[in-house]
């Protein structure tokens, strides 16, 4: 691996920066994602930082079943993220559309729009599961880079 790749991978492993995108969710997952920042779970101690723009993010955390209106935006945001990038589909809705499968205004599941690296189920997803998802994702990157 080139030196620059090693640096990028190592900084991602040590401190993944996330961008949270709500693709039409009911907010259940969103409040649990924000909850992960708050004192009881405190993901910042793991180096995980919530960013506001895709250009600074390593991991795109997507909640929601992906409504039609949000689908194009989701794709655009993904394309704006620099490589290497990962996508975490959060909640039953993010994985498969959840309870909104069959709704005309929903493209069920994030993987229909962009490639997903980690699926974290739950309705809503627990903050511990989010942390677990990030850890598993980091581990898989670590293993792949060996």
């Amino acid at each position: 691996m080139k030196i620059i790749d090693k640096i990028i991978t190592s900084s991602l492993l040590k401190s993944p920066w996330i961008l949270h995108f709500n693709s039409g969710a009911c907010n259940g997952c969103d409040i649990e994602i924000v909850d992960a920042l708050t004192p009881r779970y405190d993901i910042e101690r793991f180096g995980i930082v919530l960013k506001a723009t895709p250009r600074h993010a390593d991991v795109l955390v997507v909640s929601g079943p992906v409504t039609r209106q949000q689908a194009k935006r989701l794709k655009t945001i993904y394309e704006q993220m620099p490589d290497p990038k990962f996508v975490m589909a959060v909640g039953a809705c993010g994985c498969s559309g959840g309870v909104f499968q069959g709704c005309y205004s929903v493209v069920p599941g994030v993987h229909n729009i962009i490639p997903v690296s980690v699926y974290v189920p739950g309705c809503p997803v627990r903050p511990e599961a989010i942390i677990d998802g990030v850890v598993k994702m980091i581990k898989s990157v670590e293993d792949a880079s060996k």
């Binding site: 409504t67 039609r68 209106q69 689908a71 794709k75 005309y104 205004s105 493209v107």
Partner: protein, 162 residues
Amino acid sequence: MSEFAKEEKIKAGLEAKFPGVVTNASVQRKNRVWAEAATEKLPEVLEWLKAEGFIYLSTITGFDEGENFGAFYHLSGHGMVASIKVKTPKTNPALPSVLPVFPVATSYERELEDMFGIKVQGLPPGRRYPLPDDFPTDQYPLRKDWTDANLPAWDAPAKEAK
């Protein structure tokens, strides 16, 4: 004295003030008055109810019923909910706007247009609601005969809006 005195008063008032216009007025239970009104007199009926204390237009429920489309206008006040039903034929569905009486009605009326294809006369032009911008303008999801079979894929190029 009936246990539904204040509800009966509203019902009686509607019938007295709008003979022939308001039909099927009933007190369904405590705090609930239902009535049907002639479409063209809808704004006046709502104006009267507003003066009687129903100061909030809580929402407008559009519906598809047999040969007609229509809507319920749910007004609240005094802890009561008055639901006024108006119908319009499917062959040419149109309802008068109630914006002069309730400025809050904009989004609810846009919803009638977007979801049922009911033309709301007097509604100023504006962004559609609630459907996404690229949703076909000639498909009305809440109509009973609509299915998503003819809905283009989410990433299909948008057709020219009407």
